[in-house]
Amino acid sequence: MTTILLDAEALYAELRSGVRALLDPETALVGIWSGGAWLAERLHRDLGRSGRPGVISSRLHRDDFGSRGLAGGADATSLPFDVEGRPVLLIDDVLYTGRTVRAVLNELFDYGRPASVALAVLVDRGGRELPIAPAFAAARVSLPPSQRLALAKEGERFTFSIEDDA
């Protein structure tokens, strides 16, 4: 069963205005692969920022490697700027347990010591298992653990779907 319930485009507009307050000229935008990377790229363009946004993957620092192994896919971190001393704004589509963000922080620090790191997300669905909080969330929803919230991209437009875990 798939239901479209959240208007991703409307939430994106809120995110766009919400992150303005979190950005100063030297802040680097970094999207968490994959949904966050799409968002960061579009924010970067819509906000007319210079340079290129970064992409970061949690894959090499995940805490479930022992039980799930190394995930497939060709996602790789690409940070086209010097991390050392840089304020960084991480962007993701959905914030849930916080474990992906924890892994991504480790990944980020492998490249240098950022001046600060903040997080902005499209949807905060609660259920945190780690002390991690977003600086901005366009929406807060409550979903049972059996449901998966996934951002999809059709051309330039974003949509959300809620899927029951198999």
């Binding site: 993957s57 894959r59 090499l60 620092h61 490697f65 022992g66 799930r68 192994g69 190394l70 497939g72 896919g73 060709a74 996602d75 790789a76 971190t77 690409s78 480790n106 620090f109 492998d110 490249y111 240098g112």
Partner: protein, 320 residues
């Protein structure tokens, strides 16, 4: 007798050991190559290490010497944060008469998580994989004349890096094919990845005719063998494996099958030249070719570390 089923895959079709390329599903090969691409970028970081194998012990068991291969496995394991133990096994327990399986049982009692095995006997890594504890993973780092799967995979990574796609390629493997586990692994990998023209090039004494059954074109003439090739893989002339008079002399071999700039002109203008190393300059390859614009011999070494990181992290993450 080795199992004809795949002891290197678990019931979900995931890789738990890497023993041979033969019979690997194409998607498993691509998964390894894609993952290696991720690891290549670890070299660009301040911290050139990722924690996937933190707390795991990797034992390098080289029953046959190979400083270079052992070192690349050691670097790969260390970049994955594993503890690496090198055992100069050729000079220790076996010399005292201990059997292979007794050695393995002893090392398992030391809480090994992975064995990287090089052995002069074909099939030794299979035997170890069949007898070790379920949580232990085995990587074949070369067994007899049988297989050298990580070399085969790093060769495929190199070809994909320069040529992007396998499905229109002509690949020539040249030299001492009968003694070469590299050639065997390369040929299996190339055919799994859909290379339409695989050629085995060399004298009748070193290129067995039964390769034709593997879909390989056998060429005893060098010019025919490398004409219009996109990729030329030169093999080392294995002096130490030569027994009897399979060749008149190394000089004679170079005259007929050594890769010189003149012979290379027969291949495609954008062809790449590969070699698993160590190279014998003036025996199978001319210095002008080894150091020339078509040579990708040193990038192969760099890619080899990323491919070995990929193999070790993939198998360590899958359960038997």
């Amino acid at each position: 007798m080795l199992s004809r089923r795949h002891p290197q895959l678990n019931r979900h079709g995931e890789l738990i050991h890497l023993l041979t390329i033969e019979g690997l599903p194409r998607e498993v090969v691509h998964h390894i190559l894609d993952t290696a691409g991720t690891f290549l970028s670890v070299n660009d970081r301040d911290v050139k290490k990722v924690p996937l194998l933190r707390g795991k012990s990797v034992f390098n068991l080289f029953f046959e010497n190979s400083t270079r291969t052992r070192t690349t496995f050691e670097i790969a394991a260390k970049r994955l944060s594993a503890d690496v133990i090198n055992l100069d096994i050729a000079r220790s327990s076996t010399a005292k008469g201990e059997s292979l399986l007794d050695t393995i049982a002893n090392l398992s009692a030391m809480h090994a998580d992975m064995f990287v095995v090089r052995h002069g006997e074909s099939g030794a890594p299979f035997l170890i994989a069949q007898h070790c504890a379920p949580h232990v993973h085995v990587v074949n780092a070369g067994d007899g004349r049988h297989a050298h799967p990580t070399q085969g995979l790093l060769d495929m990574y190199t070809i994909r890096h320069y040529k992007k796609d396998f499905t229109g390629l002509t690949v020539a493997v040249v030299g001492d094919i009968v003694h070469s586990r590299v050639a065997r692994s390369d040929i299996h990998a190339l055919s799994i990845l859909g290379v339409p023209e695989i050629r085995a090039v060399g004298p009748k004494t070193l290129v067995p005719g039964d390769l034709r059954e593997m879909g390989v074109r056998v060429c005893h003439d060098m010019a025919e063998g490398i004409r219009d090739a996109d990729v030329v893989i030169m093999l080392r002339l294995q002096n130490e494996r030569m027994s009897g008079a399979m060749l008149p002399s190394a000089g004679e071999f170079f005259k007929s099958y050594g890769l010189t700039p003149q012979k290379l002109e027969l291949a495609r203008p954008d062809c790449i030249v590969m070699h698993p190393g160590p190279i014998n300059r003036g025996v199978e390859i001319d210095s002008a070719v080894a150091d020339g614009a078509h040579s990708v011999i040193l990038p192969q070494v760099t890619f080899g570390i990323a491919v070995r990181m990929a193999v070790m992290s993939i198998i360590a993450g899958n359960e038997a």
